[in-house]
């Protein structure tokens, strides 16, 4: 291994502590760092505080495994399969999870403040919402927001406190050996989340020589020094999509949702999480499944996916 590359086992061991504040890249059912998250469950990490905006199965599988103490999020859902994501919904209804709600823009601006080295970011959103009434939830953040009058215009502005997670995990299509990150398709808030975090691990479909990735510096979204470790993880976003390479996996989402609804999530974990990398691919459908999900290089997705 060259440069910053380490194994997924080492990466989770080294960077995730019980109680860590952590943020994942991706958006609902797209480009979440799922292979890293499965390893977190295998290593039994717990009491995590997850900062997110549009979470889905990334947060949900961790909640189901009992690894999450608190979530500061805007949305947790698996789109057409189920909303909210089933473990999250259950845990919330049972009062087993501390939750602090922001809007998507609000959550993004909190990461932006973190990335900019500012203690807060002003906004004109969330005004009038109960998210600015629930006040200070118990837990890590002492103050959820602050309302003020603009000294220039007199208008009402809300200040949102910076989010600076201990760790960000981003799944990218490509990363250079030195850490330069290239993301294809929507970046979501991944670049901002990474810049806000104290440490950053990138899992990637491909690791390239640094010189090669630097042939197109306009396409990179994180300079190498923002990244502390990289992990080679082909198909690492499955069952979520990875633009340009593979689509989301409707079959697997159905299995996931059914397992939870039928109270057999432990069996799901046994079959799909406590399992070797190679065996995982066989269990999700092997080479035929990978071919079905494979993206058309021009369109960026699998045009004939049965969904």
């Amino acid at each position: 291994m060259k440069g910053k590359e380490i194994s997924i086992t080492e990466a989770v061991k080294k960077f995730v502590n019980d109680g860590s504040t952590i943020a994942f890249g991706g958006f609902t059912q797209n480009r979440h760092p799922m292979s890293f998250i499965r390893e977190m469950i295998r290593q039994g990490k717990k009491d995590l505080v997850v900062y997110g905006h549009s979470s889905g199965i990334d947060l949900d599988i961790l909640v189901g495994a009992g690894a999450v103490k608190r979530a500061e999020i805007a949305y947790v859902g698996d789109e057409q399969f189920v909303t909210p994501s089933p473990n999250f919904g259950k845990a919330a209804e049972e009062g087993k999870l501390e939750i602090q709600d922001y809007s998507n823009y609000g959550a993004t601006l909190r990461f932006l403040a973190g990335a900019m080295g500012l203690p807060f970011m002003p906004a004109k959103t969330m005004l009038g919402s109960d998210m600015l009434k629930s006040g200070s939830d118990k837990g890590k953040s002492e103050k959820k927001f602050h309302l003020m009058e603009c000294p220039f215009t007199g208008e009402k502005v809300v200040l949102l406190p910076a989010a600076k997670p201990d760790l960000a995990i981003i799944h990218a299509q490509m990363v250079g050996e030195g850490g330069t990150v290239m993301i294809y398709g929507q970046k979501f808030a991944d670049d901002i989340i990474a810049k806000a975090a104290k440490e950053v691990v990138v899992t990637a479909e491909e690791i390239l020589p640094e010189e090669q990735i630097r042939q197109k510096p306009a396409l990179t979204c994180l300079p190498f020094f923002e990244v502390d470790a990289i992990v080679k993880s082909p198909f690492g976003a499955h069952p979520t999509s990875c633009y340009g390479l593979y689509d989301y996996d409707p079959d697997h989402y159905k299995i996931y949702v059914k397992a939870i609804k039928s109270n057999s999530f432990d069996e799901y974990l046994e079959r799909y999480v406590y399992v070797e990398h190679r065996e995982y691919f066989e269990r999700i459908g092997g080479v035929e499944k990978m071919e079905r999900l494979r993206a058309d290089p021009v369109l960026g997705y699998s045009p004939n996916l049965k969904r």
Binding site: T28, S85, G106, T108, T125, G128, S129, Y248, P303
Partner: protein, 252 residues
């Protein structure tokens, strides 16, 4: 017996009419997305569909499964992320936002967070996502809902996305600079908001739906005196939906 149109198709067609040509539309997953695509294929070829996950005016050869779907990228004018898109919204550049939710009250305030006590709710919804942002910051909002009594309460359990708040002047008092809901499209009919009282009234009911049924399914007094029957979808619109836009059976 081949139906003339399904209820969902009627809703989608009606929703698409809310979009004027050239408008910039902030759209979520599901029915709104189909409505947006239909508008683009019919009366509003120059409307601009914007997805919060990062894309503007994509070609949409296939219906995306989420606003962050790889299907949203092809042919887009730009492909970026949440920050850029929401900042355009906050800067007043988006004309219309489509929203759904778990509950709506007579002022168009929406709840997509939780029913019951926030900390230990009876029902937990997915949360705001971009809904509150659209409700606060787009020039106007169209709501798409299932019309049920428990979904149309006098007051929402949790105000996720501000409508007209507590009536005239409510948004201004909260510090909101523009916007507010104009239309609620349900599976029973179409509601609008009175310009002076900001209260929801029935604008039209679907063919075969009685005003009585709408009253029964609405948890607050609703003025039905201005209502007529909703216009039926045209055959061309239904054909477009079935053959071009919505995958088989998705609007059944």
């Amino acid at each position: 017996m081949p139906e003339e149109y399904t209820l969902k198709e009627l809703m989608v067609v009606r929703a698409s009419k809310e979009i004027k040509d050239g408008e910039k539309v902030f759209i979520g997953t599901g029915l709104p997305m189909i409505a947006g695509m239909l508008a683009k294929y019919t009366h509003a070829p120059n409307c601009v569909i914007i997805f919060e996950a990062g894309t503007v005016d994509s070609k949409l050869l296939d219906l995306p499964a989420s606003v962050g779907d790889p299907r949203c990228v092809y042919g887009a004018s730009t492909c970026t992320g949440l920050f850029d898109i929401f900042s355009m919204l906050q800067d007043g550049k988006i004309d219309i936002g489509f929203l759904g939710g778990g509950q709506v009250d007579k002022y168009g305030n929406l709840n997509s967070t939780a029913i019951g006590e926030y900390r230990c709710p009876e029902v937990r919804f997915p949360g705001s996502g971009g809904a509150c942002d659209m409700a606060c910051l787009s020039k106007r909002v169209v709501i798409i809902m299932k019309h049920e009594l428990r979904r149309f309460p006098a007051e929402v359990d949790y105000l996720t996305s501000p409508g007209w708040m507590d009536g005239p002047g409510g948004r201004e008092k909260a510090g909101l600079v523009r916007g507010g809901p104009t239309t609620v499209i349900t599976d029973l009919g179409v509601m609008k908001f009175d310009p002076s009282s900001k209260e929801m009234y029935l604008d039209s009911y679907y063919p075969g739906v009685s005003i009585e049924k709408i009253r029964e399914n609405t948890g607050f007094d609703i003025d039905c005196s201005r209502a007529g029957e909703t216009e039926k979808p045209h055959i061309e619109e239904i054909a477009l939906l079935r053959n071009k836009i919505a995958p088989k059976g998705s609007l059944r």
